[in-house]
């Protein structure tokens, strides 16, 4: 081991890093809390919206609205990939990319896949892998509002309606708990009826079935069922994008929090280790000096 001065410098630099990681950990906690409470707040809206759509879609034919219609052959797929703008968040982005490659294997090589990328990390990856990127969004706020989801939702809807893509999927990280995030794939378009709703809604659905009364009566639709459908369906898509955004942000912050907590703990361990070595070395130096002095004295006495 090097000399005492080197060790003190190392201890200082590790302590500084510890301060930074600790601060990042605390910031992530507060951002995560904000994102999770936003997810919870949006569930009321989403729940009611899906109840209405179920009610409508159950009674109308798949052909009633182009957004409900799914072609039998899937040739072209649009994939919305949600990643983070910043790094230092553990395996958050890696897991998303793993999910993407898994999904590509399932799709096979014959189908054409285009991408909409959200987050700078995703853009970097897209450039490296030469993905065919239709659009990319970055610098989204940590606390997005409903309107922030609008451009993404509108892009997907327009492209789908223009028949450029047969299916639109969204890949994002689902916030299960602080220590558990799951990357999931969810079918955004065409809109499916309730039985096979994806992950954003699955938990919601269960809750909602208990909470909401079953509609055994007929609603009157003003001005007409199609017009109401026309009005509601785009909002349903935007809500899904919005919720996915919030889930992704909550997961990112949770992942960062855990990563930073590990880093802080590791820093504390390293400082402890170094302090022990430092003290051992210091003790050794003192012992050596005493030995030298006493040998010197012994030599003098003999003379």
């Amino acid at each position: 081991m090097s000399n005492l001065k080197d060790i003190t410098t190392r201890i200082h630099s590790i302590q500084n890093i510890h301060k930074i990681t600790k601060a990042m950990e605390l910031v992530s906690i507060s951002k995560m809390k904000r994102a999770t409470s936003a997810v919870l707040a949006s569930r009321d809206y989403a729940g009611t919206l899906w109840a209405v759509i179920d009610d409508l879609a159950g009674r109308v034919n798949q052909k009633a609205h182009p957004l409900l219609f799914s072609p039998k052959k899937i040739k072209k797929v649009l994939l919305i990939v949600m990643t983070s703008d910043r790094g230092l968040c553990g395996s958050f982005n890696t897991e998303i990319f793993q999910k993407v490659s898994q999904f590509l294997k399932i799709l096979g090589e014959k189908r054409k896949v285009d991408y909409v990328v959200i987050g700078k990390k995703g853009e970097d990856r897209a450039a490296r892998e030469k993905w065919n990127v239709l659009a990319s969004f970055d610098n989204l706020s940590v606390a997005p509002n409903f309107n922030d989801a609008a451009p993404i939702a509108r892009l997907a809807t327009d492209e789908f309606l223009n028949k450029k893509y047969d299916h639109v999927f969204i890949i994002y990280s689902d916030f299960v708990s602080t220590i558990n995030q799951r990357s999931v794939i969810h079918e955004l378009l065409p809109i499916k009826s309730s039985e096979d709703l994806g992950d954003v809604e699955s938990n919601l659905k269960k809750k909602e079935k208990e909470d909401l009364p079953k509609y055994s009566y007929e609603f009157k639709f003003e001005p007409g069922r199609d017009e109401v459908l026309e009005f509601i369906l785009p909002r349903a898509i935007q809500t899904q994008v919005y919720q996915a955004l919030l889930e992704s942000i909550a997961s990112e912050q949770a992942a960062r929090m855990v990563a930073m907590k590990n880093a802080s703990d590791a820093a504390v361990d390293m400082v402890d280790d170094l302090k022990l070595t430092f003290n051992q070395l210091r003790q050794a130096a003192i012992t050596r000096e005493i030995a030298e002095i006493s040998t010197g004295k012994a030599v003098l006495e003999e003379v």
């Binding site: 707040a41 009321d44 809206y45 989403a46 009611t48 509002n145 409903f146 609603f219 003003e222 909002r235």
Partner: protein
């Protein structure tokens, strides 16, 4: 009657009321107890709740109303604010911005023109709500 208004971001109002007046697309409607089950889109405008002698005004945009048979009314809106949550200055500024945007987008594509018009309508509805509250104070 139980009235709730939710946006994707929060629940704005959730309480018992006597009557609700809503800016439906086909014209203003007032919902009283025992109304038919109904679903209809709303335009940007003012929602007025009446409870006893008290009146509450709210600005909403891009929503629809669902009237359930047991006299429950639910509004799902893109945005909604109560009068006390809005400040005239800020809304006035936002309105000006929206007006400029509409002017700017007049020759642009249809979609962005419509969305600019939409935000102008939203700000106008907010202004209306603020004015209503002010007038009440003067009386």
């Amino acid at each position: 009657m139980h009235f709730t208004i939710v946006t994707p971001e929060r629940t704005v109002f959730n309480d018992e009321v006597d009557s609700v007046t809503l800016p439906a697309r086909q014209g203003e409607i007032t919902v009283l107890p025992g109304h038919l089950p109904l679903i209809t889109p709303l335009s940007s405008g003012v929602i007025t709740l009446q409870k006893g002698k008290e009146e509450v005004h709210m600005a909403s945009s891009g929503g629809f109303v669902q009237v359930l048979p047991d006299s429950k009314i639910r509004v799902l809106a893109d945005t909604a604010e109560k009068a006390e949550e809005l400040t005239e200055e800020k809304v006035e500024q936002a309105k000006k911005k929206a007006e400029e945007l509409v002017h700017e987008k007049r020759n642009a594509d249809k979609a962005s023109y419509i969305s600019a018009l939409g935000s102008l309508e939203r700000e106008l509805a907010r202004l209306k709500v603020i004015r209503k509250k002010k007038n009440k104070r003067r009386l």
